[in-house]
């Protein structure tokens, strides 16, 4: 699949935003960090900016954005529609939550607890829907797996936890517990990603033989029937250099998981400060950007079989 920048930016940015807000609410509910009103509002504001920037970017890949409002119409069948509905529902509960925090001056009332819970649930539902948009496609075996939504949720929570550590540190709030949570998540996400890369390596699914129905002989493409590019070539024909894919995978593990884990360990043990947390978050973002690019570049749609690929 062609890796579109708008969609890569959208999933990384809004993923981090939802993750940050979810951790903010969890920290509030379970007293993970001693948050004050100012820090909560700053973190909530950053999360909403990241989410909004991502959602706006996602509309950039629409060819006919004037009909974008209709995207909420098929909640019953479409994961894209569900994502849109949950993303819209997130705003009132998130804003109400921040407002309630501001009004009560950070006293954890039952109302705030309920709002925190709704923010967590709707946030997770949105990220899960984002993952399911890809996972529900039977045409792309690299995406059609339960690991896809699992990866999306874990990466959102991981980048959110690292970002919350950064926000806490820069507001001089005790952040060791958040940093340790971040390290745990980084390890868990790295493991799931490793499982995904191992799994996606194995070739399964339709072949050029089942695509054409000639299952008892070798089938080769003679002619695609067109001399110039078509929509199908542009959308599904993307072919990345295999060595680039391999190197980027190493880059994903180093940037998204290894470097931030070390930096957060330094933060948790008080050896390192805000600078390290900032570097950790930047590293996570770069790593996740590469991971998302790979997610698209490695996905091979079954239509490629009709254009001569022997398998996907």
């Amino acid at each position: 699949m062609h890796p579109a920048f708008s969609v890569i930016f959208f999933t990384v940015s809004s993923g981090a935003g939802y993750g940050l807000f979810i951790w903010l609410a969890i920290a509030q509910l379970f007293g993970l960090a001693s948050l004050n009103t100012k820090t909560t509002l700053i973190a909530g504001g950053i999360a909403l900016v990241l989410i909004t920037a991502g959602l706006l970017s996602s509309t950039l890949h629409l060819a006919n954005p004037k009909n974008a409002w209709r995207a909420v119409m098929r909640f019953k069948t479409s994961w894209l529609s569900r994502e849109g509905v949950f993303a819209i529902l997130f705003y009132p509960s998130a804003l109400l939550y921040l407002l309630a925090i501001f009004m009560s001056d950070h006293e954890t009332t039952t109302f705030i607890k309920l709002l925190a819970l709704s923010v967590i649930i709707i946030g997770l539902a949105t990220v899960f829907s984002t993952g399911m948009i890809y996972a529900c496609l039977k045409t792309i075996r690299q995406w059609h797996t339960a690991l896809t939504p699992a990866n999306y949720i874990l990466m959102s929570l991981t980048s959110g936890a690292v970002l919350l550590t950064l926000v806490l540190l820069s507001n001089k709030v005790f952040a060791a517990s958040m940093a340790i949570t971040g390290i745990g998540l980084l390890i868990l996400t790295a493991l799931t990603k490793a499982i995904y890369y191992f799994w996606v390596h194995k070739v399964t699914g339709p072949t050029i033989n089942t695509a054409t129905g000639f299952t008892r002989a070798q089938v080769r493409l003679l002619d695609t029937g067109h001399s110039a590019g078509t929509f199908l070539n542009q959308e599904f024909g993307y072919q990345a250099d295999p060595s680039l894919l391999k190197n980027l995978k190493v880059g994903v593990f180093v940037l998204a998981f290894f470097v931030p884990s070390l930096l957060l360990a330094g933060v948790a043990t008080d050896y390192l400060g805000v600078g390290a947390a900032l570097l950790a978050f930047a590293s996570v973002l770069a790593g996740l950007g590469a991971e998302r690019w790979l997610f698209f570049a490695e996905a091979r749609h079954v239509i490629r079989l009709y254009h001569g690929a022997q398998h996907t």
Binding site: T77, S78, L137, T139, V219, L221, L222, G225, F231
Partner: protein, 231 residues
């Protein structure tokens, strides 16, 4: 009703007549125009509802060229309709034809990702997704003769490789053809349950070659010289 096409791979000659006729009819039809990009330039491209590809099946000398026309299969399990967030894509309950409402489409490309047969193409000019309509603006037009109430590609095919009919009726022409010739669906393992069926090439007697005369010495030399000379 379950309307669809049967495509006879035994007789398709790969002339692209179906694609051209389809383009001509549909560019002024309900989902038209089928925009062309750079039509007179170096790399002409555009929206087509039919694509014809050619494959070589088997290894020489037991090989065969198969011309392979593909358009929308009007699947019974049409994931392109399920994934559409706007409700622009829909499958008609009365005849199973899958259509796109051009007024509702937002051009997100998601349906084209869900289609395994490459039936959907985005029109960059209108920003909407377009696809085979099974000539919906033609098959129900009572002002046309009975014969003309068929998709444009079917009428135009000079080899009679395309047939249109109702798969729900066991005695329709398409049901009979599928039954008699072993018509099959493409990529059944994905579970889309496409309506369109493909008829495999007939098993025919091989053309005998044992009575072909052996080459004379002079013709062998001529052939060798012909290959050896660099032009």
């Amino acid at each position: 009703m379950k309307l669809g096409l049967v495509i006879d791979l035994d007789v398709c000659v790969g002339c692209h007549g179906c694609a051209v006729s389809c383009k001509q009819w549909n560019t002024s039809g309900t989902t038209g125009p089928l925009t062309d990009y750079n039509p007179y330039g170096k790399d002409p491209s555009g929206v087509w509802f039919n694509r014809i590809r050619s494959y070589e099946v088997g290894d020489y000398p037991h090989n065969k060229t198969i011309n392979f026309p593909m358009s929308c299969m009007h699947c019974e399990q049409a994931d392109c309709v399920d994934v559409c967030p706007t409700g622009a894509s829909y499958k008609r309950a009365e005849d199973g034809v899958v259509l796109v409402d051009q007024d509702k489409c937002m051009g997100c490309n998601y349906c084209s990702w869900a289609c395994p047969y490459g039936a959907r193409e985005l029109d960059r000019a209108s920003g909407t997704m377009k696809k085979c309509t099974l000539c919906i603006d033609r098959i129900y037009d009572e002002r046309l003769d009975e014969y003309d109430r068929q998709p444009s590609c079917v009428i135009t095919c000079p080899a009679h490789a395309r047939h249109f009919g109702d798969f729900d009726d066991p005695n329709s022409n398409v049901s009979k053809l599928v039954r008699e010739r072993g018509g099959y669906a493409l990529m059944p393992e994905l579970g889309y349950n496409p309506t369109n069926r493909y008829l495999p090439p007939r098993v025919t007697r091989p053309i005998p070659t044992n009575d072909v005369k052996k080459k004379s010495l002079i013709s062998s030399v001529k052939e060798w010289v012909n290959q050896a000379v660099a032009r």
